[in-house]
Symmetry: D3
Subunit: 284 residues, 6 copies
């Protein structure tokens, strides 16, 4: 169950409106690695943990915090949109700055949301649960989380570099710091789980059931052998279960597939037509 307090986790006040930047900032609210994604990802992972210890609690702590980040960004975007102009080409032609705003802002910020933030990314794609990950295997999922915080911090940093507004920069410096913590925290949790299990997910599948002769082989499918110079092509494997091997000219292990004809009631192209490789006489 959740309680809401009206104060923001941190300040979210720009120096001045900037509808162009409001559009860009949507990326970290409603984009693939925006705050909606991490909030719902952590909460769904938490609700699915089949046990009630510290990992579940950590997920719920962080999921609840990310809800507060959605709130901060929604507030900031609404303020960046304060007094945003509307208009057509005639309006745009009169004033280059207004013109740049009208051409460059997200038109849905005026027409659809009435100058409010939207659950969408910086080009207007609505948020989708395609973005989130929850598998029931925590090592797998904490890797998803570490990635999400890495991508998210990268995007926040790029936005920080793109603005001169001190209020926006101040809020972003908070979010960037929290992403630093979240990268550290998932990293720590991953280390714990790797120490208890193994680096290969899932650790519970018996290794003899996999085709072990190719478990540590790098196949060189792209011409050139620069990739032979990496740690992944030399020495003991990272999971301590084998030795890396580099194959310069990988050959197929399988054969040319030949599929059976489809049943008649499917009305695929008939085998007789497929077998007949000549050019029909009238076309020859």
């Amino acid at each position: 169950m959740f309680y809401h307090v009206k104060e923001l986790q941190y300040h979210a006040k720009p120096d001045r409106p900037d509808p162009l930047f409001a559009k860009q900032l949507q990326e970290v609210l409603g984009g693939q690695f925006g705050e909606i994604s991490v909030a719902l990802q952590y909460l769904f992972q938490g609700w699915s943990v089949r046990g009630n210890g510290k990992y579940k609690d950590l997920l719920m702590d962080t999921g609840a915090e990310e809800l507060a980040h959605i709130e901060m960004l929604a507030t900031m975007i609404a303020r960046l949109l304060d007094g945003a102009p509307v208009g057509d080409l005639e309006t745009a032609a009169k004033d280059p700055i207004i013109g740049a705003i009208l051409g460059g802002m997200n038109p849905q910020h005026a027409i659809v949301s009435g100058l409010g933030a939207m659950p969408a990314d910086s080009v207007g794609n609505r948020w989708t649960a395609d973005y989130i990950i929850a598998s029931g295997n925590l090592l797998a999922d904490f890797r998803a989380n570490l990635n999400a915080e890495s991508q998210g911090r990268l995007q926040a940093v790029r936005l920080y570099e793109a603005t001169n507004d001190r209020g926006v920069k101040d809020m972003l410096s908070w979010l960037i710091a929290r992403d630093t913590m979240h990268q550290n925290q998932w990293y720590a949790a991953i280390c714990e789980l790797e120490a208890k299990e193994n680096i290969v997910v899932p650790s519970t599948f018996p290794r003899q059931k996999e085709k072990r002769e190719v478990s540590y082989v790098l196949f060189n499918y792209s011409q050139g052998d620069q990739s032979a110079k990496g740690r992944w092509a030399n020495g003991p494997s990272m999971d301590g279960e084998g030795t890396f091997k580099y194959v310069q000219n990988p050959q197929p292990y399988g054969e040319k597939p030949k599929l059976m004809p489809a049943p008649k009631y499917i009305h695929d192209t008939l085998p007789a037509v497929l077998r007949n490789d000549d050019i029909p006489p009238n076309l020859a």
Copy 2:
């Protein structure tokens, strides 16, 4: 540029048709962590690397291999669909096994693809590029890759457990082994990059610009303090730049937001209406 050879990377032949399992197997072909996702993810990352060394080559090697995995799965699914029945409730009522197939198989395998594999997941959602990640920052992206191979191997293992067909199990044992390699390889590449940079992505953003007082703090937003027992709440931070700290009762740093009224031409609810918190007389 790409060349195709007709032989499969590995065998893809089931013991017998099974349209229900064909539907399930679509998950690792066209689902969020299916082979289409990893193939295009690695290729797009590779094409965007701004430098031509071993990391780019590794991405192209692996991207090209994943194309071969799409091919193996497409072949296997077509064979699992061999001779799949079609029919209505009357047909289903006559034979419980046929009925189970008709009720449980993906109807598009008959109606749409004519017993071919589809670029879709196990419930029929078409594949979307929402699933893939390429940021230009390789440490971030290799974490995405390690996650993808972790989720992918987990799904392949679950499918392996779900079938009795030796041919399917044989192919899955190949794919699971390759996922073992790919987890090892991205793990190794991540270790290299973390050694050269720092574990926090991006490593190039000056730390003094982030709000450092909250860079290593765990806020306890979910009642109960189980999360205080983790490595993430104790000792030096994983990035070596600070010390973890646990905050039992996190308080807001910000204030209640109050937004400015919208311009009149937006036709949001008027400030006068919003301010008037009484119940209208005729409703009281």
Copy 3:
């Protein structure tokens, strides 16, 4: 900012597992009118209110409650999936009940989420922000909310009718009661706003700017005149600004459109080709 407590708002424990019903129950978690939709809809509306009175507070109260409902449903679905079987056609053929489960359950509940709830509807479509509405105009949005609670209660009732499980029914009886309250509450809020403004949204657009001669006219575009018998075709209009009128044989007010040719660099079909309405001689 949000705090989470670990207790559920209400019990979420089924009498026994039922993976088929777990799939159906996803509809009110992650479907168009599921709890994710109402939670995010109310929160986004709340964050966008440009004023801090009772309407904003009501939105935040209810949005926070809906987060608790997501949690209850996620918990219930995970329990309905307890011990869900996996298997292929061979497994299905041995036991009709297992066969029905394997054919009828959502395969992603096993393969993807590891027996956890998913942010998806009952056929597996992932949740999308296409479902939510926040315009900045509260009367419009409260109507969206009343609709959402009407559709949501209808779906919950249909699910209630579909199960014999007393635990599930108990939880649904809670959600249905809350939907009763939420319908009542948005209804009351709508009455307040209609009393302060007008029933036509937005009330702030000057009526003389609209084409008033057709503001209260029912055009009979579907043959037959049953629709003439409704309140909408007789007497004063509901907004008190006009009189309803029924037009039996509506005629066009406009003319046949004729578009200008496209510029040459667009390479649309050339005007000369379009103008030439004869059949080419070799085809005649």
Copy 4:
């Protein structure tokens, strides 16, 4: 069955081309509350009515009219795109007005549709049936319709405010007037159904089956008690079946959920790992 006449329902001719405004106007053609949405929503509702009286006829009348509105907007957008320029940065740099058009117009209007309207919204999201609602319960659905016409009129008004083109304004004044009628008409139909049934949808579910003790309770989940001042927190409920009640400090009715471990073949994180809340020795 449908017949088409070539005349438009109303004029759709702008004073002059304006590719920027063409992009914005797409919102009310192919957006969430555009004319495609209402046309298909009313038609699907009408086709599903299980009875042939005035409500079905009203739906078919209005659905057919909305098809005419799609046509008007498609015509208007094509004309706003007349002679739209194409070009790159070099072209843009030469003339600020051309530059504003090239930067601000929807590039698909040139590349994809060849200066025709698209079934998409103002940021280019293609129309999706996610937007439409048809439940078989007319009171629920008419509420959806009233909402759609409220949001739609709001968007049309915002577009009206944004243009100086008299031709566009003239067409919008028609559409706004029709939205006035449609709001009035669904309002009237709702009043009829509420008079015959009850305001709570569905009215046919026996009230004793819902958890009645919380059917009229406002839980204060957001700190601060502004929401206590509304009609929804005081007096008899709107449905006449109870009395509103305000709960200042809502407590959980449920308990902490504890999920059973997953079966072994799912390969979720093992219970032993989850139970082990200590920090592994090598990390401590």
Copy 5:
């Protein structure tokens, strides 16, 4: 503008309900090549034609007819759903036929649409305008139409083969015949346009501007030379402008791409890291 008459274009009455088949039949209503797709495709093409002759009229004729087909299918599906059962595993376990229906039907037909047709395909994906095509170039678009009618008739035939219901077969025999006409009609229109223009779309682009040396070359990128035996590898090209040529071992015409480093403020992986191809000492 459109008028609706209440009679169906043709009968749409099954012999008996069949919720499983209702689900399958959704494919030709709301799938990629269902009636919604062709209706909106033809109408959007028609509205965009920049000229008012026979091609536009043909598009409007056929678009209006397809609306009638949506209506027939919506009616048929509602009747196939008559009295569809609802229930959980307990219900399913009691009667294998009911169990097959509950497992195999689309659960949204009960929960969401209340036994009405949905704007979705046979696996429940909602219809999307991603499916439709309108470019302003009629030869291109008529090819899209011929394809749509080919795919659509193929799907209708597969459904015809799958049912024993005489009422359903009767309706499908109508739709299949109309698809025969529509394939013939677009074929005829294509012949007319190819006679007036050229088979290559667009015909208006000066051929000397394309890289003519590869305009008629088949590159053998897939090992094996079966493709050398087709008409496409021999003789004059189909457009009469060149001669087909087969290249056994295609070589690259380009060079290895080398991208410039990204600007610092993008925070991609630094050039120094990318250049450093050694294994870091602590990993070697």
Copy 6:
């Protein structure tokens, strides 16, 4: 199985960066008819062919080539983005050219992909497998392919017209030439299959099972009889099986549909309410 060589199929180097054009060029990379679409369409068709002759080989040849085109476009787009600026309104206000870039470029090119190409179209919609077609019937699918190459060449030509950059034009002249070949090749393959089968797809469905009396009839559903002047309304049908016929005033063959009431547990509007067409007394 696939091998990759690092050289590009053809050069992909612009004269100078142009982030606006990079955004436009995304259309032919990741749009509905971009290179991802044709690559995966041809490969999926090829993998599904149930026979191993020249048609399958042709599909694999061309599918592999299209992968090379994705690569060329990804390279070109990355180069067009070289040194793309970032910034807010303050930056934009200082320099009109920079302002035009910031307003007009795809913000995700900076924030998300770090100046790399994206699997998305020119307005930022991510690529989806909704775009691709593979039915198992080659005549149907080759028509889809001919359409794809027609739409694709049309879009490439429009982009060619829109740029002054000689490097971009050079690459496009290659792609346009290849589209010329691909239109010719699918055209040739279609001719072969039509010669072996019949122009109507599928050719294997017995004609007596379709409602032959309407197999060659043009119904005039759009007022005006321009469409009577086409080849499709006169003379023998294109498939040689009948004679075209034009029906001026098409009448319904069916009757008004009347649906049965829904079962009580669905809670649709009750029949009693639907039958009651009077206005309730309190509203009259």
